[in-house]
């Protein structure tokens, strides 16, 4: 059978990630260090795991309501209010999803008509463009600049808007750059968006991981609450990636539409995970602080040392990534990563994997042990020294 003729044109048009080949190499290496994977190295705190286990002991193995357990939605509403000053009604404004990614997929699909445009700042997490395309939209990529600390500027936003613009994705704090948008940055974008029908899909999955200041949501700003869809989840804040727990908050008509789609495609998020999530919301704030403090230590160490060994690196103020510039090596980001992995057995991810604008940078995730981070720095130093020597010889 000719499956090319069978498979949907759009999915065939979406290229598989080039990162896979690194992981294939990595799987073969037993002694490699990986700063490649973007997930907390912490195990989910025990009291949260225990709540999941206890729910199984009690026999809570059935579906929950489509939107998610009432008590979980109540807890999410209280948490958002407590930590980010966001007010959402647990009845009708919050939907519990299978990770933040499902929420992004739903948001695209309930907003977009064929041919609509969705503005996607890049470099960013890889899902936005493909999900927009599958929903029928045309992604419009806007390249963020290092000199702006990878913030989206109002000029860039304004230039990208056309009559077809349906939504803009705001992926901050950012994977892969570690960049954040402060209140004044958001305020400048809001100035552009107020009075339009453009929706903001604000992916705030790293909201708890900011260093030096608290995260501000676009929905905190005057006149922006009604045009913002807030996507968040438990993966990064509570080290719960494998539980697949996310949620989305928005004005009622939008959540109603998303819930409709969610009930057909997913039914309800995993019940065990929802029970664990209730515990995370009720008693997890200290875990968040503890993990953030840990990440912050590693962040400072990594940034300081990357700069010391000659890879310029702007100070990332959010998430758990550093995004050093490797242009001084004369290598493309993919060449850099491949050689670094083969020669020194440390995996980092080429910036080019995160869309145009990422070329010339690599992403290293510091959600790894201090020992691995220190060792990676030493190996990076070695790699750069060897590289310079080889390059000197060639010239």
């Amino acid at each position: 059978m000719n499956y090319d003729g069978i498979l949907n044109d759009k999915i065939q048009g979406i290229k598989p990630s080039g990162i896979r080949k690194f992981f294939d190499i990595l799987e073969e290496m037993t002694d490699a260090i990986s700063l490649g994977i973007g997930e907390p190295d912490f195990v989910t705190p025990w009291h949260i795991r225990d709540a999941g286990i206890y729910s199984l002991e009690r026999g809570h193995t059935k579906y929950t309501s489509n939107a998610g357990m009432l008590q979980l939605r109540r807890e999410i509403a209280a948490y958002l209010n407590r930590r980010f000053d966001l007010q959402y009604d647990y009845a009708g404004q919050i939907l519990v999803t299978v990770g933040g990614s499902e929420a992004i997929d739903l948001a695209m699909r309930v907003l977009v008509n064929p041919g609509d445009e969705v503005i996607v700042p890049v470099p960013s997490f890889v899902c936005y463009g493909p999900l927009a395309e599958m929903a029928g939209a045309v992604p419009v990529y806007v390249e963020l600049k290092a000199e702006n600390e990878f913030r989206l500027t109002p000029e860039q936003l304004k230039a990208a808007i056309t009559p077809k613009t349906k939504a803009v994705v705001l992926p901050f704090p950012s994977n892969p750059t570690g960049g954040i948008m402060e209140r004044r940055d958001l305020e400048a974008l809001a100035e552009v968006l107020r009075g339009t029908d453009i929706m903001v899909i604000s992916d705030e999955i790293y909201a708890e991981l900011t260093y030096g200041q608290r995260h501000v949501s676009m929905a905190n700003l005057t006149d922006m609450y009604e045009r913002t869809i807030v996507v968040n989840g438990f993966s990064k804040s509570h080290a719960m990636t494998g539980w697949r727990m996310g949620y989305v908050c928005a004005p009622k008509p939008i959540i109603a539409a998303m819930t409709k789609l969610h009930q057909f495609g997913i039914m309800s998020a995993p019940t065990t995970s929802q029970y664990a999530a209730v515990e995370a919301m009720r008693n997890g704030d200290r875990d968040i602080e503890h993990m953030r403090e840990e990440y912050d230590r590693r962040r400072r160490y990594l940034v300081e040392n990357l700069n010391r060994i000659g890879l310029t690196c702007f100070e990332p103020k959010g998430a758990f990534y550093v995004f050093p510039c490797i242009q001084s090596t004369g290598l493309t980001s993919e060449e850099f990563c491949e050689r670094f992995l083969m020669e020194e057995k440390v995996a980092v991810i080429p910036g080019s994997a995160f869309g145009p604008g990422g070329e010339g940078y690599v992403r290293a995730c510091y959600a790894a042990s201090m020992k691995d981070i220190a060792e990676s720095i030493a190996r990076m130093d070695n790699f750069l020294t060897n590289l310079r020597r080889k390059q000197g010889r060639e010239e």
């Binding site: 990595l26 990986s34 490649g36 994977i37 997930e39 990636t241 230590r297 160490y301 994997a353 201090m370």
Partner: protein, 159 residues
């Protein structure tokens, strides 16, 4: 500055450079602070936590509840000192509740421990009674769990 202490408590094998940047302070400041902590005996020492069972060296550890008659001037401290001077005593705490002191000792054999309790500890003037509990298995000490490293289960996923 307490940051440094927290970091060292977690892992005292970190280099002073690592400590300084993790705590967000200049290197010289970190060096001076650690020196001062050591001089002031805020930092008492640096030791490894070892799972002796894994190298098949037999040790016996006992937790002994001790009741004493406090002395009029020094209270418990004088008698405590007489007990903790023995090398066999690994840790010792003054307790609230139904007994006065917890004394943790280790020896190579049960007999050695019994001998210490019977011949040395109980004969100290002021000790009025002891109850010895042998430790059968260590699960966790100083936040570290006694079990072999499990193979890393990280799956490679692009996020």
């Amino acid at each position: 500055m307490e940051k440094l202490l927290e970091l060292l408590e977690q892992d005292c094998t970190m280099s002073v450079e690592q400590l300084a940047s993790a705590a967000g302070i200049p290197l010289e400041e970190a060096k001076a602070a650690i020196q001062k902590y050591e001089d002031d005996r805020v930092i008492l020492g640096y030791q490894a936590i070892i799972d002796w069972d894994r190298v098949r060296r037999e040790t016996v550890t006992a937790l002994i509840e001790v009741n004493v008659t406090p002395q009029s001037i020094d209270g418990f401290d004088r008698i405590a000192e007489r007990i903790y001077q023995y090398d066999e005593v690994e840790s010792m705490y003054l307790m609230s509740g139904s007994f006065d002191l917890t004394v943790i000792i280790s020896g190579r054999t049960l007999r050695e421990v019994a001998q210490f309790v019977g011949e040395r500890l109980s004969t100290i003037q002021g000790v009025t009674g002891t109850a010895t509990h042998f430790i059968l298995k260590k699960y966790k000490e100083k936040h570290l769990v006694f079990r072999p490293q499990e193979p890393e289960e990280r799956e490679y996923i692009f996020t």
